[in-house]
């Protein structure tokens, strides 16, 4: 009621000068905010709808970043030792989301510069992934607190491998035409969750860019959770692993015994 009166008052008094230039705004919603992983789960498609409100009609770009719960990544490199391909010592990378999608209406590199994309973590190359256990701080050439990685020059090869492997597992993706403007200021993006998507809370960040800078943002959360039997078994196996182990073994032995009894009667 009060909102309506305010709006009417604002419309009725055109003499009042606008105190601020009109700020662009962005708004968005997900078709589904709760993805349920049950026994027939084989991935999900979630549509994100949104609108750009900008009276000035300046050219706008929209970037949608979806991040799943953070999962540390253990990665190893195979190298040849005396004719055999062996695994190296595993390296743990932190800061890697378990799921990542960057969708935009045109290539990210055309929308904003390197520094801005890096700061926002927009794009697979700009994810804040690092291997803290491999780092040490030392003084080099008289400069104090230089962060040095034990992986040396290979560090970026390792980091790129994390992204590449996640991408080939369908967990990371970058779609430079994933955001489509369907009408004046109205856009739509599709988020495809593979069956292997981790469970947990996902955050979708919707960013409006103008002249290469982010001018408005919105964020939405999405939860992916196991339900029903899937959830019960998962929780049981992790909270009371011993009773779960005993019960599943009893089930297996009982099945074997039942089968032998059944086939004997024939």
């Amino acid at each position: 009621m009060t909102l309506l009166t305010t709006l009417m008052l604002a419309a009725a008094s055109p003499t009042l000068p606008p105190t601020l230039p009109p700020t662009p705004a962005i708004s968005a919603a997900l078709t589904d905010t709760n993805v349920r992983v049950s026994s027939n789960f084989s991935g999900a498609r979630i549509i994100l709808y949104g609108a750009v409100f900008d009276p000035s009609k300046r050219p706008s770009d929209v970037v949608v970043l979806v991040r799943g719960p953070e999962q540390p990544v253990r990665i190893t490199r195979r190298h040849k030792v005396a004719g055999l391909w062996l695994n190296s010592r595993p390296v743990v990378f932190r800061g890697a989301p378990g799921f990542y999608r960057a969708a935009s209406n045109r290539p990210l590199a055309d929308i904003a510069n390197f520094g801005i994309l890096r700061r926002l973590g927009a794009g697979m190359d700009h994810l804040p992934i690092n291997a803290p256990a491999e780092q040490r701080v030392e003084t080099r050439y008289g400069v104090r607190d230089v962060v040095v990685s034990k992986l040396g020059a290979d560090y970026y090869v390792w980091r790129r491998a994390v992204v590449r492997l996640k991408e080939s597992a369908g967990l990371y993706d970058e779609d430079e035409h994933g955001v489509r403007f369907v009408d004046q200021g109205l856009f739509r993006a599709e988020i495809a969750l593979p069956a292997g998507a981790p469970t947990g809370i996902y955050r979708a960040e919707i960013l409006l860019f103008q002249d290469g800078r982010p001018v408005a943002r919105r964020s939405r959360t999405l939860s992916v959770e196991k339900v029903g039997l899937e959830r019960a078994l998962y929780v049981w196996a992790h909270v009371r692993p011993w009773s779960y182990g005993l019960a599943s073994m009893a089930l297996a032995l009982a099945a074997g015994w039942a089968a032998s009894a059944a086939f004997r009667r024939e």
Binding site: W85, L253, A255
Partner: protein, 307 residues
């Protein structure tokens, strides 16, 4: 029809997994083995994470061995005392094996050790079986009598202390060799996701010199006890047992095993051994091949176990 596995966290095609269970069950019923050595690599091939495949196989092996051991028990073809001694060794081996597997996974070397174990054990056993069975087939073709059974038991088997009488097997030997054999197979069952029948059976025949009629039933008894423990330990320590996967495999495995047991009567024993030897050899070489081929992707993500 895809089904989502709660622990493996991947979706698999349920009829495919049941069919896989049936195929391995058929082979297992036909040759009187657990079939873990074949199933675990196949599961990994179909996208199940290796630790989950290895651990869930323990349930499958225990269940399908349970279904066969009942039949052997009714025929009085199980030496419970020998089975108990082997299983006591197996229990120790399983504890060691599960902890060893945990450490290997933390070091990132689990894949290597699994591949190497497959390569070494399967190719050695496969080649020995192949030579022996081909020899038997050739001799039969030429109409020669079967090779005389060498009844000379290795001397060290009798020199060891702690002798025990095993009336059903008509043996009076030290408990140390069966204990050690059981422990060794227990470690393998935890690391390779196998029951260990393919090692246990030849060892019982050629090293312990047990009567052939007792061997399969007794080895099944040891396998059930060891894999039952391995399964519970894997669930408790590593949380890698997927009961849904195990149930799917068991459904197919139970039916396949019965069909396989019926089909086996159509072949001669040495022909069966030759086919089995070929399968064992192929699986071993295929698993080992990965160690020598240049990988397409030099980096490997390691599932779970981030501490």
């Amino acid at each position: 029809m895809d089904i989502y596995l709660p622990i493996a966290e991947v979706a698999v095609n349920a009829p495919l997994i049941v069919a896989l269970g049936a195929l391995v069950g058929f082979i297992s019923g036909m040759f009187g083995i657990g079939g873990g050595f074949l199933m675990t690599p196949l599961l990994v091939f179909f996208g199940i994470p290796a630790p989950v495949a290895v651990s869930s196989m323990a349930l499958h092996v225990a269940g399908s061995s349970m279904s066969s051991v009942m039949a052997y028990g009714r025929r009085r073809a199980v030496d419970f005392r020998m089975g108990g001694v082997l299983a006591a060794g197996g229990v120790v081996g399983a504890f060691v094996g599960v902890e060893l597997f945990r450490v290997l996974r933390l070091l990132g070397q689990a894949d290597l050790i699994v591949a190497l174990s497959y390569l070494v054990f399967l190719s050695v056993i496969g080649s020995l079986m192949l030579t022996e069975s081909l020899g038997a087939i050739l001799r039969r073709r030429r109409g020669e009598p079967a090779a005389a059974h060498r009844d000379r038991r290795p001397i060290w088997l009798y020199g060891l202390p702690l002798k025990v009488r095993f009336p059903r097997s008509r043996l009076y030997i030290s408990v140390i060799p069966p204990l050690a054999l059981g422990a060794f197979v227990g470690v393998l069952s935890a690391i390779m996701g196998v029951g260990g029948g393919f090692i246990l059976v030849p060892a019982m025949i050629y090293v312990l010199r047990m009567p052939a009629g007792m061997v399969v039933g007794t080895s099944l008894m040891q396998i059930i006890i060891t894999t039952a423990l391995t399964g519970v330990l894997q669930a408790g320590r590593n949380q890698t047992v997927d009961v849904v996967l195990a149930v799917l495999l068991l459904i197919g495995g139970v039916v396949g095993a019965q069909l396989g047991a019926r089909a086996s009567s159509r072949f001669r024993a040495e022909e069966l051994r030759a086919i089995l030897a070929l399968i064992v050899l192929l699986v071993g070489l295929r698993m080992g091949l990965g160690l020598f081929l240049t990988p397409d992707e030099p980096f490997v993500l390691m599932a779970g176990m981030v501490g």
